[in-house]
């Protein structure tokens, strides 16, 4: 089928491999996104074939810890940061709860006092009404007495009886009026006392509300300070983890390099012996290949003065005949090791030598040849 798209002949293979120049890659990406079905189909077929190539990699399983770390990372994403101490987490809630209890108690107390006040006011009102009715009664009795006095006296005996009755009634009314007055005064005092108590309770409530707000502010500040401290500790731990990871990567890289060397093709070995009294009984073994690099391990190397170091030299078939492989690090127990990365010149090596050179090494071998070995 003839292609209708001008991009059909593009390098979809190299595009899928990521092996094209960025500008061309961008152009082809834009073309795919434009929805050209023909080119998309071509690209997906290439992608599938490349994934089969990926499938040719030897099957290796990751450690179980990877899944654990991944899920921990994901769960950390889902949950907000928590404070380390449960106390600080719940402290604001505890304070708020305590203040709520206090406010409810105060509110109930105030409600009770207000209820008592209302009752006292009602009682005062009733007493006042009683007094008014008594005063009205007194007034009417007074009027009756004067009208009784203005009537013609039928008999002297009837009049004195009525007068005595009226006086008794008047006394009674006056006593009742006094009692009502006393009760009214008492009720008013009670009202005043209750009002004072209400005022006190209101003041106290306002004070407690203010204290509650202060406590809430303090809790929030403390929480914030605690969070800052924890954040600083976390940053410190993360820095330490990073440092240790870098060191671990370094150690693992070294191990991997050694593994690669030992499995590389055309691996050669040279044993070195001491060729100078200053070398003592030191010996060394070197393994090397162009693809794997050079690993040289020495034993019983004498301690050198501070201004000196051990340097390893490659002696080759073709020029330059002698080149440095690097400096050997010496341990206190006389052991030393050097690893040099892969290099084509290792294929030319016929012999190795270790000399003592000034600290920092030399461009060309000047020191004493202490160990030597050849193929």
């Amino acid at each position: 089928m003839t292609s209708t798209c001008t991009h059909a002949q593009d390098d979809w293979e190299l595009y899928a491999l990521g092996g094209l120049d960025r500008e061309i890659e961008r152009e082809m990406s834009a073309h795919l996104e434009s929805g050209c079905e023909e080119c998309r189909q071509q690209y997906f077929e290439v992608q599938n074939s490349l994934n089969a190539l990926g499938g040719s990699a030897p099957l290796v399983k990751p450690s179980a810890s990877v899944e654990r770390k991944l899920m921990k990372r994901i769960h950390a994403d889902l949950a907000p940061a928590k404070s380390a101490s449960p106390f600080w987490k719940f402290a604001p809630w505890a304070v708020a709860f305590a203040c709520l209890i206090v406010m409810l108690w105060l509110g109930r107390d105030r409600a009770r006092m207000q209820s008592e006040l209302a009752q006292a006011q009602q009682q005062a009102l009733r007493l006042q009404q009683n007094q008014q009715s008594l005063e009205a009664a007194e007034k009417s009795i007074g009027q009756s007495t004067s009208s009784a006095v203005s009537q013609p006296v039928s008999t002297a005996r009837d009049n004195s009886k009525v007068e005595a009755e009226l006086r008794t009634k008047l006394d009674q009314v006056q006593q009742q009026a006094q009692m009502a007055e006393a009760a009214r005064e008492q009720a008013q005092q009670q009202i005043a006392q209750l009002q004072a108590q209400v005022a006190t309770a209101t003041t106290r409530s306002a004070t407690l509300e203010s204290e509650l707000r202060s406590a809430e502010d303090r809790a929030a500040r403390t929480d914030s300070q605690k969070t800052q401290v924890l954040a600083a500790e976390l940053a410190k731990s993360q820095a330490e983890v990073k440092r240790l990871s870098t060191a671990a990567v370094g150690a693992t890289t070294n191990n991997d390099r050694v593994q690669r060397l030992l499995q590389s093709a055309s691996l050669q070995q040279i044993d070195l012996r001491s060729v100078d009294p200053q070398g003592g009984h030191a010996t060394a073994r070197a393994l090397y290949s162009p693809q794997g690099g050079l690993l040289i391990v020495a034993d019983a190397l004498p301690k050198l003065p501070e201004q000196k170091c051990y340097q390893v030299w490659l002696i080759k078939k073709s020029g330059p005949a002698i080149t440095s492989a690097g400096l050997m690090t010496l341990q206190d127990d006389g052991k030393g090791m050097l690893f040099a990365p892969p290099s084509p010149e290792l294929a030319e090596v016929t012999a190795l030598a270790i000399t003592d050179e000034p600290a920092g090494g030399s461009v060309s071998a000047r020191g004493k040849k202490l160990l030597f070995g050849a193929q």
């Binding site: 990521g18 120049d21 089969a52 994901i74």
Partner: protein, 192 residues
């Protein structure tokens, strides 16, 4: 928790809803395959494990970056894993670029930390995929492997092999085309 046999599209929809169990199911389904590819590229177990984590975390962070139009989910995961591994490898290469044999630039390390050397084993290769690879002419196979596992551009491939750009492109094109045909003839469903 969804079972690993559930459809990828279902699991992905759950991941978009921030269901960690769905992500875990996808991890259990595809982690071995993705890890094998990453490990093949970086040749370092601890680095490969970190990068595997990053690959699946990227799916968690941005599930919307994948769409069925881009191919299967495992295909997308392998592509992301490969890209992350190649980026890492390039960074490591830049870091190690100063390692040349010069005076005063030696590397010594603790003699006690020499690893035990065991034989490399080659387990569980999919037989049909391996046979398909073996059926490629050597030049096409090695060019494809360098391009895929080392991430070399066509320019770098030309320099490495000493061939012209045109030859490199042809080898890659033909190699992929033959791989596709070989896989079809083996009846291997390109589920990848």
């Amino acid at each position: 928790m969804p079972s690993p046999e559930q459809d990828d599209s279902f699991l992905l929809a759950q991941v978009e809803k921030r269901d960690p169990d769905a992500l875990q199911a996808l991890y259990r389904k595809y982690s071995n395959r993705v890890f094998s590819l990453i490990y093949r590229i970086v040749e370092n177990r601890s680095a490969a494990e970190e990068l595997l984590q990053d690959t699946f975390y990227r799916l968690w962070e941005r599930p919307h970056f994948y769409s069925a139009e881009k191919g299967t989910l495992v295909s997308w995961l392998l592509t992301v894993g490969r890209n992350i591994a190649l980026d890492h490898k390039r960074k490591e290469s830049r870091r190690a670029a100063h390692h040349v044999i010069t005076p005063g630039d030696g590397e010594g390390f603790d003699i006690e930390n020499l690893p035990e050397i065991g034989a490399l084993t080659d387990p569980d290769l999919s037989r049909s995929i391996r046979q398909a690879m073996e059926s490629l002419p050597p030049a096409q196979k090695s060019t494809l492997e360098m391009a895929y596992f080392e991430g070399l551009t066509h320019q770098e491939l030309a320099e490495r092999t000493g061939e012209s750009l045109g030859t490199v492109k042809t080898r890659i094109r033909l190699g992929i085309s033959k791989l596709r045909e070989a896989l079809r003839s083996y009846g291997t469903a390109l589920l990848l």
